[in-house]
Amino acid sequence: MAIPVMLIVATIVFALVHLTPGNPAALMLGPQATPGQVHALMAQMGLTKPLFVQYEDWLVALLHGNLGESIFLNEPVTTAILQHVIPTLLLTAVAFVFSLVIGLSVGVMAARRRGSRADQLLMVAAMIGMSLPEFWGGLLLMLVFAENLRVLPAAGYAPPSLDIWIWLRYLLIPGFIMGFVQSALVARMTRATLIEVMGQDYIRTARGKGVSEGVVIRRHAMRNALVPIVTVVGNLLIIFLGGDIAMETIFTIPGVGYLLYSSVLQRDYPIIAGISVLFGILYVVVNVLIDLSYLLIDPRVRY
């Protein structure tokens, strides 16, 4: 089922990319080029062939695992994506940690204090978090921590092999904002699911046996609440791994999001199509992993 889905995704992506106005030849030659010069370069690039022929060539190559060559980077699409995927992975890791730590803590606190003023305040904070535009929050933190306090850099990226602390300092602001915004969803799902689980008989039994509240929550309630939480968290992973275009562009992190943004502006068709196809594959893979994780979490689940 995954393969037909992927083929459909690939076809739609190809069509969208090539039918969108704009072409890479004009952008490559610059503003002084005449239409004739642009057309000549397009012919050189193979872009004047009938669309169906271009699609056929691309699909055959795709089926052989070849995503083509980037028009502007002059290297295989796979190489370009691999070079950009590590910063995205690392930014994802930082954002993921923030979203889990904040989201789970807030969710558990709110569930334990259900109906109280604290619960209401925490959920309002979660709503604000969900509504916060990431780019605005990011620029605000940049103003405070980079411009005014000068404790963090404004933008950029360094690999962790250079210096782990320099690496972390570059990713702290964008990772925090990404994680904070998405933690709201984790918090709300955690609260809702925990409240439902905490009303179960076995929780009442555990409390009746004198088990401490912390152990009740950690060992009994959370374990049973995990399935929907893992679903939300898994989808978060997909969102993060797809590359956060806004954050990567504002903070100049050379990840997949930044690559996609610059490729769309330049109409680097092979890169746009390649990232879209890989994102489709990623979506399928992560969802399979989420489904498999249910087996580990809940022994009652059987496929």
């Binding site: 704009g22 002084q32 980079a146 990226y157």
Partner: protein, 524 residues
């Protein structure tokens, strides 16, 4: 799952994460720290260049980023005067059709090979195939290049072309000189080896992270006095890093926080913030560029000159420029097609039709043209926000004059494509860099360029301009051209605008010019 298995799984995850972190450097580019340089200049630019080959693209950022690496036969001294650079001297004979150019020698390429006429001829021949400007010179003027001994070349033209030296000096789509071996290996394909004769040599380009150039210790200096891009320029900082920072607030924040030494193309609204910061210095680059509302003269409403004249008559140029740039420091309301900073070409001849802000006259012209409220489709992009703001400000002015304006807002790549189709628009908004000599913009010179100005008299004047080397005669021709421009209104040029850059006060010796250069600059 058994507890022991869980523990092993958890340990495995921790080990995998550690391996990922440790291995991340090796699978990312630039895994090793660069060797410590004595002085490093960090420049925040507007983004990644489309390529590093200035011959193959007229995109400014390519030549800007490689300014220290590549050189040209001629270049621009202070005031944009054209001076020899890799040339030492030249003669023009055969009625302006034959240029014999002596080459400066010895000149070393960064691969330690000596430059000879073979390298220059190979570079020029490639340029005439890949550059929009080179292709035009080859086609319109029959340009050919050949060696004349080891250290001289001949450029033969089919007709005189007074702007040839300007084309040979121009950075954007200009004939950067490469080794013949590189040209042979590359052909007309994308350049993959970046070897020039400049005081900096290319080290590394990681798109999205930085472009790094380092001082070339064996750089062959000219003996002429240093003046802007020409003469005895020296690469004084050891290393220059161009960091692509597409977000303008981030460029500013990075400059303020000390992360960058130079921030290019800032919003004029940040001028006061920079000026009041004692660690920074604002720089206004004059001249810089001019907006152009280009009319579709091939098809549709704007084939009618009275409608174009009405469009011009309706506009208040000061208000337009204020809408676009905010701060009067960054624009000049002038009808001269050349800015005041270029006094040789600055002229007010024929400019009475500029900045009329006269809706009554515009209505009269529209009535004479038989205009009945048909929509005027104006292509504009928000990618250059100043153009969009100007278009928004223009709409009520035009409506007051009786125009029915429909702004078609698209992204830049779409605009660049759609402007080639005369069925899709009546006007499109773009801008053009200033040129050292008139006119280098295809919008004015090339009937095949979108807008399609095929006016026979204009073409004749341009031919005369190209054929005349006498400055006073060229100025007289240019004045006639400007007069015709305002009579026929092929496009609207609202005025001149300037660029805003800012530098750290640690940087000394920086001269703000159109294409930033960092010769004779120090970082303390």
């Amino acid at each position: 799952m058994h507890n022991r298995t869980k523990g092993v799984a958890a340990a495995g995850m921790v080990v995998s994460m550690a391996a990922l972190l440790a291995g991340c450097g090796s699978s990312t580019p630039a895994a090793t720290a660069p060797p410590k340089a004595q002085s490093v200049l960090t420049v925040a630019t507007i983004g990644d260049p489309p390529s590093l080959d200035p011959q193959a693209t007229t995109a400014n950022i390519t030549a800007d980023d490689m300014q220290g690496v590549f050189q040209y036969l001629f270049t621009f001294a202070q005031g944009y005067k054209i001076v020899p650079m890799l040339a030492s001297s030249y003669t023009v004979t055969d009625g302006g059709k034959l240029y014999t150019i002596q080459l400066r020698h010895p000149v070393l390429f960064q691969n330690m090979h000596h430059m000879t006429s073979a390298d220059v001829v190979a570079s020029l021949n490639r340029w005439m195939q890949v550059s929009p400007i080179g292709q035009n010179d080859a086609k319109a003027y029959g340009m050919t290049a050949s060696a004349d001994g080891k250290y001289a070349i001949k450029i033969q033209l089919s007709q005189p072309y007074a702007q040839l030296l300007g084309d040979l000096a121009m950075w954007y789509g200009g004939p950067a000189i490469y080794p013949a071996s590189v040209v042979k290996a590359t052909g007309t394909g994308p350049l993959k080896t970046y070897i020039g004769t400049g005081p900096y040599k290319f080290v590394k380009w990681i798109p999205g992270r930085y472009l790094e150039v380092k001082k070339f210790p064996q750089y062959s200096q000219s003996n002429l006095p240093a003046s802007w891009y020409g003469g005895k320029v020296t690469g004084t900082v050891d290393e220059i890093k161009y960091i692509p920072v597409p977000s303008e607030p981030t460029r500013l924040a990075g400059l303020i926080s000390g992360q960058y030494d130079v921030a290019e193309s800032l919003d004029p609204s940040a001028y006061q913030q920079v000026a009041s910061n004692s660690a920074l210095k604002p720089e206004v680059v004059k001249p810089f560029a001019y907006p152009m509302i280009v009319f579709n003269k091939k098809q549709g409403l704007m084939t009618n000159v009275k409608i174009r004249q009405a469009f011009l008559a309706a506009l208040n140029m000061k208000d337009l420029l204020l809408a676009g740039f905010g701060n009067p420091k960054f624009f000049d309301v002038t009808g001269s097609l050349y800015p005041k900073q270029q006094p040789e070409w600055y002229s007010t001849v024929g400019t009475s039709a500029y900045n009329q802000a006269n809706p009554t006259l515009a209505k009269k012209l529209l009535a004479e043209a038989g205009y009945h409220g048909q929509p005027v489709r104006w292509l504009v992009s928000q990618q250059y926000l100043f153009l969009y703001k100007m278009a928004e400000a223009a709409v009520p002015m035009l409506q007051k004059a009786g125009f029915n304006v429909k702004l078609d807002v698209v992204d830049w790549a779409t605009l660049v494509q759609e402007r080639n189709n005369p069925a899709l628009y009546d006007a499109f908004f773009t801008y053009n860099a200033f040129s050292p000599e008139p006119p280098v913009s295809a919008a004015w010179t090339d009937p095949a360029w979108p807008g399609w100005w095929t006016n026979a008299q204009a073409q004749q004047l341009l031919k005369q301009l190209a054929a005349t080397t006498s400055l006073s005669k060229r100025q007289a021709i240019w004045a006639q051209y400007q007069k015709l421009f305002y009579q026929r209104v092929p496009l609207v040029d609202p005025g001149q605008f300037y660029n805003f850059e800012a530098i750290s006060t640690k940087v000394h010796g920086f001269v703000p010019t159109y294409s930033p250069f960092f010769y004779d600059v120090s970082v303390k």
